[in-house]
């Protein structure tokens, strides 16, 4: 009896050791996001504080400035923020209807075999790494833009342009929006559809007027995720953006500059103001993503309740 008790006690200790070990790992894993925000914030804010070793930068000049020249030490990201919004939302406008229609096609309209093939294609597009899209954009999309520019009689910088960025981003966020839309459409209550059909609506009318409306909340979630990806996309965009020095860019054939391309442009030194300011730009990027996510989520709630 004595032995048995000891045995049980030992097992209990081991058990709780394991529990706390697992818990420690989970806490460690979740602490990374805190560390990330804390450290990037501290480093990103440092150039604006007095006593900064490479010469203090005026925060308002930085945030609202319309010129960004590393060579002259002028850092203004105001126009870059606008550019980032323009390219991301333009990409969303192109990609959103195509994604939703493709999702509807896959779930409701396509014959079973075709639907499987299409789903695989969307998955393949999702698994292509961004650097490969970058190579594609540099080789094909810039070519298309160049031809278009010739057609309109305008000149481009070898095809690197706002339009190229928008097309590239539209392609890259397509799989994200589509796969979330697919789940949303699949989750629509069958009763709703049947009620619509029973009332005499055709299959297509039901698909477009009942299914899509019922799935709008999930589809919107896909759009939010997609725009997040568009904001954060870096290497591929940097290959076709062209890095304009001032702005903002509204002409689709003109070169542009987004927050992420700014962070990558001419990265050589690992110290100095030019390096530290990239953290400030990164901080702006995080704020942009956070704020737009927050606003879009509010909109989503409104849309979901309509």
């Amino acid at each position: 009896m004595q032995v048995n008790k000891k045995y049980i006690k030992k097992n209990k200790t081991i058990d709780s050791i394991y529990k706390y070990f697992f818990m420690a790992m989970a806490i460690l894993a979740s602490s990374f996001i805190v560390l990330l925000v804390l450290f990037v914030f501290t480093k990103g804010i440092s150039p604006f504080l007095s006593g900064y070793e490479y010469g203090q930068v005026n925060f308002f000049d930085f945030l609202f400035g319309l010129t960004y020249r590393q060579d002259k030490g002028i850092y203004g990201v105001g126009f870059i923020i606008i550019n980032t919004f323009i390219s991301a939302f333009a990409a969303l406008i192109i990609s959103f209807p195509i994604s939703v229609l493709t999702a509807l096609f896959i779930v409701k309209i396509a014959p079973k075999n075709l639907s499987k093939v299409m789903q695989t294609i969307v998955e393949l597009l999702a698994s292509i790494p961004s650097i490969v899209y970058g190579v594609f954009a540099g080789g094909v999309i810039t070519g298309i833009v160049k031809d278009l520019a010739l057609l309109f009689g305008v000149s481009t910088a070898g095809g690197s342009s706002l339009l190229a960025v928008v097309i590239l981003l539209a392609i890259m966020i397509f799989p994200t929006i589509t796969s979330l839309s697919i789940s949303a459409i699949q989750a629509v209550d069958k009763d709703l559809e049947q009620a619509s059909l029973a009332l005499g609506a055709t299959k297509t009318q039901t698909n477009f007027k009942i299914v899509l409306i019922a799935a709008k909340s999930g589809i919107f979630a896909g759009a939010i995720l997609g725009i997040g990806r568009a904001f954060g996309e870096a290497t591929a965009v940097a290959m076709v953006a062209g890095n304009k020095l001032f702005g903002p860019t509204f002409n689709p054939f003109d070169i542009t500059r987004t927050l992420t391309t700014t962070m990558l442009a001419g990265l050589k030194e690992t110290s100095g103001l030019d390096y530290d300011i990239r953290f400030s730009v990164g901080l702006v990027l995080m704020v942009v993503i956070f704020v737009s996510n927050y606003i879009l989520n509010l909109v989503k709630k409104k849309v979901g309740n309509m």
Partner: protein, 400 residues
């Protein structure tokens, strides 16, 4: 009637919309293969990126190395070497070695470059001849080769008529991706060694132990928020948070180790999610059975639950490998973009993706090589994805 037409139009529109994605995928594949397929060969995989300059002492009068078979280029039977005029990947004219006789005096030599004196070096097919120092039949030392803007035929006739060859200066073949492949492997191993235990343990805690307390909700949210962070921001995090950690191991610059640590954090949510999804599918009755037989909770987890969830963990690992191979933005900050032919844990290096970035962001983008590497990346990633799908199929069958 008009409803019918309307329906038809709407349906056709969805066909068109889906057609666009098919077209895009097709365009990507056609572009990559048309540009890169011809560059893709075994040499690309085994060669270094930078070509090495070597200087070898020969001091030989030659011999008779007559061969019966035809060789590409112009063959010198006295020296056992065949040379050909060619153009390298940097579009420069070169004199390429197309064949070298195994017993030729030029095959193995002693290096006389400063630094690695008297090391044995070899001349292989594909290397390019820069300069050959010869002594002419009149006994005058001179030289012949590419630096004299001579072509292969002139070089062969010069060395054939010479009294002896004293030394030879040549370049090894470059433009390969061997070092980047090694770096990519390094990165996969480092990031998985760190991310796998943390990710799996977190998933076990959150699914098997965690009550619905506020703390646990916070933990879950913390890990899930990592998914939404753009990879370039992870790069910033790597150099601020993790660089001091690598300094403990003696790192002075950004390094492969730093890249690996950064990647491990990027992978955490992926591994945690796929493990947790597998844990969810394990039937509760298995746990109850094990517990009622007297096993403790930790015994149940290790001996009953985890073996059932191993497919999910494997899925996480495969997806992670794909992510490491494709990642670029975070690594530009943490590993640098210098293509390093002898990658070490604490040195800078480039993965396959970074290598593409490194010569695509330069003045003269090399689309052929970039496409060839893209094909390799794409094939690996697609194969991994298909395996994941196959696992998922088998997995659902197990408990269905």
């Amino acid at each position: 009637m008009s409803t019918k037409i309307k329906d038809k139009i709407l349906n056709t529109i969805t066909y068109f919309a889906s057609g666009i994605s098919v077209f895009v995928l097709g365009a990507v594949l056609v572009f990559l293969f048309s540009k890169g397929f011809s560059t893709l060969n075994w040499d690309l995989i085994v060669n270094n990126y930078w070509s090495q300059n070597l200087l070898g002492t020969v001091d030989s009068v030659g011999g008779d190395y007559t061969i019966s078979e035809e060789v590409d280029g112009i063959y010198s039977a006295r020296w056992g070497i065949a040379l050909k005029d060619n153009v390298n990947s940097q579009k420069e004219k070169v004199i390429e070695v197309t064949y070298i006789h195994p017993e030729s005096p030029l095959k193995t030599m002693l290096s006389s470059s400063a630094g690695d004196n008297n090391k044995e070096i070899t001349l292989e097919d594909g290397y390019t001849i820069q300069k050959i120092d010869i002594v002419t039949s009149d006994g005058i030392p001179t030289f012949t080769g590419k630096i004299m803007s001579q072509d292969a035929a002139t070089v062969i006739s010069n060395i054939d008529s010479a009294q002896k060859i004293t030394s030879i200066y040549y370049k090894t073949t470059g433009g390969g991706i061997r070092s980047s492949l090694i770096t990519t492997l390094y990165l996969i191993v480092i990031s998985l060694v760190i991310a796998l235990p943390i990710g799996v343990c977190s998933a076990i805690y959150l699914h098997e132990y965690a009550s619905k307390s506020k703390l646990n909700k916070l933990i879950r949210q913390g890990i899930e928020t990592l998914t939404g962070v753009p990879s370039i921001v992870y790069g910033l995090m790597g150099v601020t948070v993790l660089f001091p950690v690598t300094q403990l191991f003696g790192a002075t610059t950004t390094s492969i180790l730093l890249g690996g640590l950064t990647m491990s954090i990027i992978l955490l949510p992926t591994i945690m999610k796929s493990t947790e999804e597998a844990l969810i599918v394990v039937p509760q009755s298995l746990r109850d059975g094990s517990l009622s037989l007297g096993a403790t909770k930790s015994q149940t987890i290790f001996k009953v639950v985890l073996p059932c969830a191993v497919n999910g963990i494997l899925t996480g690992v495969l997806l992670s490998i794909g992510r490491v191979i494709g990642e670029s933005a975070a690594l530009i900050y943490t590993m640098g973009t210098f293509i390093n032919d002898s990658p070490k844990l604490l040195s800078q290096g480039t993965t396959l993706s970074l290598m593409i970035w490194s010569f695509m962001s330069g003045e003269q983008p090399n689309f052929e090589l970039a496409s060839a590497i893209s094909i390799i990346i794409l094939v690996i990633v697609l194969v991994l994805n298909f395996i994941v799908k196959a696992i998922a199929k088998k997995f659902t069958k197990n408990f269905a």
